[in-house]
């Protein structure tokens, strides 16, 4: 067992878990914009719960991608090129979603906001599904040849595992987001979010549990089942905590569910990082896909400094914005463009106030 490649495999798994834990709820909040929020005020409350943090959360995705490139270039190259089309959709979804967050409130018009609401909701859904599918396929395999290139055409990656992985992340994100909203808001919206968690948690978390179990059945190690058991206990704990109005514990327990579920999945396939469904000889492993130990050593030093720093200042951000928000604390939407004169003012307001 090579120490550094294994360390980096673990670190990349941690980055993905960090991404799913943090962006998980803001992707979910994005989806809730169209399904859960009842009116404009509630939509604004939802947006502002993730407002200060969503961009920082998304960097976990870029770091996971960049770290994979640096530590396992062969894994990065094979996975990303094999999933070319689905990743194009993920990118488009993330682009629309990011722009929508920032631009939605910048024009005072119902039509404008409605368009961007759809961009946020669909963008979040497609991104969550696509990332889930990608992560599932890197654990269950792709039709790769000896060079690590996909064979069989643009859709050769498709398998039911991809769908399962997609549903797993979408389901988790939705429940996680509801728990987050229950934790971060007050008033009616808080209570409805809590009811949503109570009612839908079993359905929402099932695909992720199923994915972990399927991977464990195929490649499982002795501890895979322990991790899965921990995940199930965490989910039950989260549900019970939610029932007894302990939103913080419910949210954290859901994080434990994610962490142990993901640990079960990633550890089961280790040392393989990306199996080839055509020939096990062509599997990408921590050994044959990794960078040199010089590069891994350099990156380890950087990560040892960088990761704790990121955790510290991101934790501080959450502390700064720890207060609950509610529809009552909303300021009125801003009508700017007043300086352009009376005629243009009406125009700039986009008709209705």
């Amino acid at each position: 067992m090579d120490f550094l490649p294994t360390l980096w495999f673990i670190l990349i798994a941690v980055l993905w878990v960090g991404y799913l834990f943090l962006e998980g709820f803001d992707l979910g909040v994005g989806m809730l914009m169209k399904t859960f929020a009842r009116d404009e005020k509630e939509r604004r409350v939802l947006l502002n719960t993730v407002g200060p943090v969503w961009d920082g959360n998304e960097v976990w995705l870029l770091t996971a991608g960049g770290a994979t490139f640096a530590a396992f270039p062969f894994w990065y190259a094979s996975l990303f090129s094999a999933l070319y089309l689905p990743l194009v959709f993920v990118l488009l979804a993330l682009i629309f979603r990011a722009v929508a967050f920032e631009y939605r409130g910048k024009v005072h018009s119902d039509t404008w906001r409605k368009v961007w609401d759809w961009a946020i909701a669909l963008g979040s859904l497609v991104a969550a599904f696509g990332i889930g599918a990608m992560l599932a396929l890197t654990t269950t395999g792709l039709p790769l040849n000896a060079n690590g290139d996909r064979v069989g055409g643009p859709f050769a990656w498709f398998s039911w595992y991809a769908v399962l992985g997609g549903l797993a992340v979408v389901g988790f994100a939705l429940i996680h987001a509801a728990a987050f909203v229950a934790l971060k808001t007050d008033g009616d919206i808080r209570h409805r979010a809590r009811r949503l968690v109570g009612r839908w948690m079993p359905v929402g978390l099932l695909p992720l549990a199923l994915w972990a179990i399927l991977v464990a059945l195929q490649h499982g190690k002795w501890f895979s089942w322990i991790l899965i058991a921990v995940a199930v206990v965490a989910a039950v704990t989260s549900w019970l905590a939610n029932r007894s109005d302990r939103e913080g514990w419910s949210f954290l327990a859901m994080g434990v569910f994610l962490l142990s579920g993901a640990a079960a999945i990633f550890s089961a396939v280790y040392p393989v990082v990306l199996p080839s469904t055509l020939d096990p000889l062509w599997n990408l492993t921590v050994e044959n896909a990794s960078s040199s130990s010089y590069t891994l050593g350099l990156m380890s030093i950087v990560a040892a400094v960088g990761v704790p720093l990121v955790l510290a200042y991101q934790a501080w951000t959450y502390w700064v914005f720890r207060q609950r928000i509610s529809v009552d604390s909303l300021p009125a939407p801003v009508d700017f463009a007043a300086a352009v004169g009376a005629k243009e003012k009406v125009e700039a307001m986009g008709g209705k106030a």
Partner: protein
């Protein structure tokens, strides 16, 4: 599937060409937003600092107004930056495999050490007005801006390694990093960093100048500001238009002057760093230097105008009409007599070292065995080089003229000049784009240009023809090219419209509290401003 018909074997289209167009389009597009983010971010941080130091309200207004435009632009840079991180693996998997050991590290460091900082602290800045102690709030902006500058450094380290590969040894056919210090202090990267940052400041300077000019012109048109017999401004106030008070004039005249001075200093910075870059290029990528000049024969003169088909990729039809003797030598080596090698001399040298034909290796796909053309497309390099310098110089000269014209405190009433000032905003953007197109196209046919100082088994280079993803079909590439390009086009329209809207709105668009007719709060429960607001989060969305 309809697009499965476009196979490489079918020769209808070539995945490599599409992948290159895609890379060019998404990267140049991304780099419309990046310089404005870096430059404007720096200026907003300076303005907020000035506000803290002087307590003058016009600096707060400037911070809020330019900060708003900064954010509208920033998010587009973020959104299009994700594509950058993914596309190496998606479209350029062979490249990623070949260079991953050395190229991935700066990218990962960019995300971990810079982009995290930038995104997190900018979120704190946006939502932290009144929430954070004033000094901490200001520090958050400075940290975010520092993050964006460090981010540029890491990306330029990665790019410069493609221009000038250092710090590696070839092991098992791949370059492996053996000297991180050499990679991260690559002279190409250090100079490119200064060139890029000064280029970014030039963009921001022009942006301030153009928009502030428009606002001052508006105040004159609306009859708020007038001039006395000597042409000196008499600042007025509008009773009807919100926000058009005397401080509003101070906001725009200061913005204009800061913008103009920054644009001029930044251009001087790009000239100095660009000069060093040219000398490095002369050593490291002589063909790029020759192609920048469409210089076929060895010589010393800088071409003012070359006619004939500079777009041809051989030298049979290029005639230099006008040259400044000695200038090219000065650019390349600092004296007036050193002969700069031309294309005709360089091609045989390259052929001798790297072969005349691509090998039959399957990694070249249908291009295996093709003849290699070592001359970049000279129409692009020749004109790209001149557009970069031309646009940059024009913007700096215009900034000087603007300073002179506004010496008495406002702008002339001419609508034409106002339009010119607004259009002038585009010039530094053009210079940046042209510079990048020049330096990337000038590196062809290599994706990793050979380092002339290395030879024999150490020789590190990669042809672009072997960099593309072998498993990805041309159809997939066409799909993504069309999808990304059309989405980018729509979003550019949206961004420009939104910027225009806020620019027309003036300071009030970023500070609605200046408009007394606006509602304060839905419920009116808490006192406006002051301590009441500290109880709730800042709602920015």
């Amino acid at each position: 599937m309809w697009f499965c018909n476009f196979t490489d074997e079918g020769k209808l289209v070539d995945a490599l060409d599409i992948a290159r167009w895609q890379f060019g389009i998404v990267t140049v597009y991304h780099f419309l937003m990046v310089p404005l983010t870096i430059g404007l971010g720096t200026l907003v941080a300076i303005l907020q600092t000035r506000w803290h130091q002087t307590g003058k309200e016009e600096y707060l207004r400037m911070t809020k107004f330019w900060g708003k435009l900064f954010l509208i632009n920033f998010i587009m840079g973020v959104a299009t930056g994700i594509v950058q991180e993914f596309q190496f693996g998606m479209a350029w998997s062979e490249y990623s495999r070949f260079v991953g050991d050395v190229f991935g590290a700066p990218l990962a460091m960019e995300a971990l050490l810079a982009f995290f900082v930038e995104s997190t602290f900018l979120g704190l800045w946006i939502f932290g007005w009144k929430k954070l102690p004033a000094k901490v709030h200001l520090a958050c902006l400075w940290i975010a801006v520092a993050g964006s500058i460090v981010s540029a450094y890491f990306i330029l380290v990665a790019n410069s390694w493609m221009q000038h590969p250092v710090g590696v040894e070839m092991i098992n056919g791949r370059p492996q990093m053996v000297d991180a210090w050499a990679v991260f202090t690559n002279n190409t990267a250090i100079v490119a960093f200064f060139h890029t940052i000064t280029g970014a400041l030039a963009v921001a300077g022009g942006f301030l100048l153009g928009i502030a000019w428009y606002q001052l012109w508006r105040r004159r048109k609306d009859g708020i500001d007038t001039v006395d017999a000597t042409g000196k401004v008499i600042v007025g106030e509008s009773a009807t238009i919100p926000g058009r008070d005397k401080k509003d004039h101070a906001v725009w005249i200061k913005s204009l002057r800061i913008g103009a001075v920054v644009a001029m200093i930044a251009f001087a910075g790009t000239t100095i760093s660009g000069d060093v870059q040219a000398k490095l290029m002369f050593e490291q990528q002589p063909m790029k230097m020759a192609a920048a000049e469409a210089a076929c024969h060895d010589g010393t003169g800088f071409s003012i105008l070359s006619i004939g088909d500079v777009g041809s990729r051989d030298c049979s039809d290029v005639v230099a009409v006008m040259e400044i003797p000695g200038l090219l030598s000065f650019l390349a080596s600092g004296d007036f007599t050193t002969e700069v090698r031309g294309v005709n001399t360089l091609v045989p040298e390259y052929q001798e070292r790297f072969g005349t034909h691509l090998s039959d290796d399957p990694m070249y796909g249908s291009r295996a065995g093709q003849e290699i053309n070592y001359v970049p497309i000279m129409a692009v390099t020749y004109w790209g080089f001149r557009m970069m310098i031309g646009f940059g110089g024009l913007a700096a000269m215009a900034a000087g003229v603007a300073l002179w014209l506004t010496r008495k405190g406002t702008v002339p009433r001419s609508k034409g000049l106002m339009r010119l000032a607004l259009i002038g905003i585009l010039a530094p953007f053009g210079a940046n784009a042209a510079g990048w197109i020049f330096t990337e196209m000038g590196r062809q046919p290599f994706v990793v240009a050979p380092n002339p100082a290395m030879s024999g088994i150490d020789q590190v280079f990669m042809f672009t023809a072997s960099a593309v993803s072998p498993g990805v079909s041309a159809g997939e590439m066409i799909f993504s090219l069309v999808a990304l390009t059309s989405v980018y086009a729509v979003l550019l329209v949206v961004e420009v419209k939104l910027l225009t809207k806020y620019v027309r709105g003036g300071v009030v668009s970023a500070m609605p509290e200046l408009d007394q007719t606006q509602p304060r709060k839905d419920d009116g429960g808490t006192s406006p401003g002051g301590e009441g607001d500290d109880d709730v989060l800042a709602f920015a969305y």
